[in-house]
């Protein structure tokens, strides 16, 4: 018999002894009355404690476990212990859960838990941001109702149970669109874990690469088609004197165009190569501008008015690269300015640094094209730029040369209002004493096409 029974047994024993004493002293009726009252009081006390227990159970609170009398004290203290332990376990569990949640929140990838009907059970903040959903208010909503990429439903339904399959790339409907790579893993009975990663940058590079290859092939194929056509005629022999001379001239032009393209491509790849440090020698830009002016005038052949203004400021950098960039901008201006237009070359201090500027009164550029002008093979008007003999790489080369000199290209233009191309060089690129000692400048670089 445990200690639990001792106290109640003593109390009941006391009542029984009391009533037995009454039986001897005052007779059976008094004895029965005392016994009844005693037991009745005992039952009442038990009921009172039972009621307290019931009330406490309705809103359990460790700090307010009721105190007990006799056996109830034991029960209550036991209850207190159990409850206390449970609370601690719960606290630990809560901590562990919170840590898990924090860990999934810290994941760079989006995570969504889905049930068998593709309803959102939980997601981390990255997923909220990527998919435009809300963890709290969208809980229980069907994911594919909110992320409505065609084919997503079928893909989520088809994915194999065990091995994680191929990721699917979807495009979001946000502006600008983002590309997300999704992967799904099953767990539990029918639940699944959706992992999403933002692959917009990857997708964009991939597209640039694809476009680049397509463009290069296209640019090379056009002159080749022309050359091939004439050669076929020549092989079959039905081509006579005058036509023959013309054919050879056209083929020569086309092969030159291809040469230019390949040269530009090589220049670009050389500029891009990381192991090719920029030459850091003094460059006499002032003389370069005057030389460019002469070249520009001969290229324009009197169709435009070309003026130049050059301050005596020298630069540190690669004379060859700068020359090709500056000449490029000038030849663009000549190409896109109608006869009689005015083109100005300027080399002067610009704020903190110095700027080379080519302004023209040409056809101008619509604002939507300006941010994309330095993309390779980007053409505002396909037919026009090809007939003027451009390779589509000029401005890309300019951009790279400037990048290598920590300079920036600013383009100001509007349709029909001419254009200004300004190359701004930072102060750090200026020659300390401003002017270049003519003897220090190595011989002028030969003009490139």
């Amino acid at each position: 018999m445990s200690i639990f029974w001792v106290a109640p047994a003593l109390r009941i024993g006391f009542v029984v002894v009391l009533s037995l004493t009454a039986l001897v002293v005052a007779g059976p009726i008094t004895a029965l009355a005392i016994l009844a009252i005693g037991l009745f009081g005992f039952v009442l006390i038990q009921l009172r404690y039972l009621d307290r227990l019931r009330r406490w159970l309705r809103a359990p609170d460790v700090a307010r476990v009721p105190d007990g009398w006799g056996a109830w004290g034991d029960v209550f203290s036991e209850l207190y212990r159990v409850h206390r332990r449970e609370e601690q376990v719960q606290l630990r569990l809560g901590d562990a859960l919170k840590r898990m949640e924090l860990a999934t929140q810290a994941l760079p990838d989006g995570v969504v838990l889905l049930d068998r009907e593709l309803r959102i059970d939980w997601c981390n903040s990255v997923a909220e941001r990527l998919l435009g959903i809300d963890r709290v208010s969208d809980r229980g909503r069907i994911l594919t109702n909110l992320v409505r990429y065609p084919g997503l439903v079928a893909w989520l339904g088809d994915e194999p149970m065990e091995t994680p399959g191929q990721p699917m790339v979807i495009e979001t409907t946000t502006v600008p669109p983002a590309f997300l790579s999704l992967q799904v893993a099953r767990f539990g009975e029918h639940d699944s874990l959706l992992v999403l990663r933002d692959v917009t940058a990857v997708e964009r590079t991939e597209r640039v690469r694809r476009d680049f290859i397509a463009n290069v092939s296209h640019e090379l194929r056009t002159p080749l088609t022309v050359i091939n056509g004439y050669l076929e005629h020549m092989v079959s022999g039905d081509i006579d004197g005058a036509l023959r001379t013309r054919a050879i001239q056209v083929m020569f032009d086309q092969s030159q165009r291809m040469t230019r393209l390949v040269e530009d491509l090589l220049t670009l790849s050389r500029l891009e190569a990381g192991d090719n440090p920029v030459v850091d020698s003094p460059v006499d830009v002032t003389s370069m501008v005057w030389a460019l002016l002469e070249e520009g005038r001969s290229l324009s052949a009197g169709r435009h008015r070309i003026e130049a203004e050059a301050a005596p400021i020298g630069l540190r950098g690669s004379a060859e690269e700068l020359r090709s960039a500056f000449a490029n901008l000038l030849s663009n201006a000549i190409r896109y300015t109608p006869e009689g237009g005015l083109i100005r070359l300027t080399w002067k201090a610009d704020g903190d640094g110095v700027a080379y500027e080519v302004s023209d009164t040409g056809i101008g550029i619509a604002p939507e094209h300006i941010p994309r002008l330095t993309e390779r093979f980007y053409r505002v008007d396909r037919s026009r730029s090809r007939e003027t003999g451009g390779t589509g790489l000029g401005l890309a080369i300019v951009k790279h040369v400037l990048l290598r000199h920590q300079a920036s290209l600013v383009i100001e233009s509007a349709l029909g209002r001419g254009a200004v191309f300004r190359c701004r060089f930072p102060r750090a690129r200026l020659l300390v004493d401003g002017v270049v000692d003519p003897r220090a400048v190595s011989g002028r670089v030969p003009a490139s096409a």
């Binding site: 909503r141 109702n145 409505r148 990429y149 065609p150 439903v153 502006v175 008007d381």
Partner: protein
């Protein structure tokens, strides 16, 4: 046989299925419009072809969902909120199908424009911008539909003016272009068709938003101005 709880559950899941299908159809139309506009702005013929071809799938969705709605009405005789849901599903599907047609129209016109030669399209940037606004409205409308969010739907209904203004501005500018240089007339007219189609897409998005309000509140707010509706003011 009296309806049991099981019958109700089955009905709810039927309804939910059809709603999901409507939203899938919405996603398809979204991508169709995007393809059409992308093809127009970048000259990507594949995107235009996709936009034209996908229209068949959109139409199949319409037939499929209409059939499902008819089934639900015939078999379950829905009332109150459920009936409103079924009715609005049928109407939303019509709106989506029309949007698909408009997208197809944009793609077809864009093809003609591109076939005509180098694309010197006046105000193309404005048209693409208007298309982006329309797409954003469709997205918001479908989101409101998925979440049954009457507040977002009403916000969208008020925004409809944006696109109307955009359309009018494009029209005005195109008219000046045509007056300045009559050679641009045929191109400009094509652009007008496209701009109109985009504006119609915005209107249908607004209709969908109105259906959402109808499902949630049970009030039909079509053909009433924002002023006469204190809830929108």
């Amino acid at each position: 046989m009296p309806p049991t709880e099981h019958t109700f559950k089955q009905f709810d899941s039927d309804l939910e299925n059809v709603r999901s299908k409507v939203l899938q159809m919405g996603g398809l139309v979204e991508s169709q419009i995007r393809n059409a506009v992308r093809g127009l702005s970048s000259g990507d013929l594949d995107a235009l072809d996709t936009a034209i071809e996908v229209d068949r799938q959109v139409n199949e969705f319409e037939i499929d969902i209409d059939e499902a709605c008819a089934q639900i009405i015939a078999r379950r005789q829905p009332t109150a909120g459920d009936l409103r849901t079924v009715l609005s599903i049928a109407k939303t599907v019509t709106d989506l199908e029309r949007m698909g047609d408009e997208a197809k129209k944009i793609a077809r016109t864009a093809r003609q424009l591109l076939d005509r030669g180098p694309l010197q399209v006046p105000r193309l940037a404005d048209v693409t911008h208007a298309a982006e606004v329309a797409l954003a409205q469709l997205r918001k409308a479908l989101d409101a539909y998925a979440r049954l969010d009457a507040r977002a739907a009403q916000e969208l209904i008020r925004e409809d003016v944006l696109l109307d203004n955009e359309f009018r501005a494009i029209m005005r500018q195109l008219v000046t272009y045509m007056m300045e240089d009559p050679r641009t007339i045929s191109t400009a007219i094509d652009i007008v068709w496209i701009a109109k189609a985009i504006e119609r897409i915005g209107d249908h998005a607004k209709n969908i938003a109105e259906h959402v309000v109808y499902i949630v509140d049970g009030t039909d707010i079509r053909h009433s101005s924002a002023k006469s509706r204190p809830d929108l003011a």
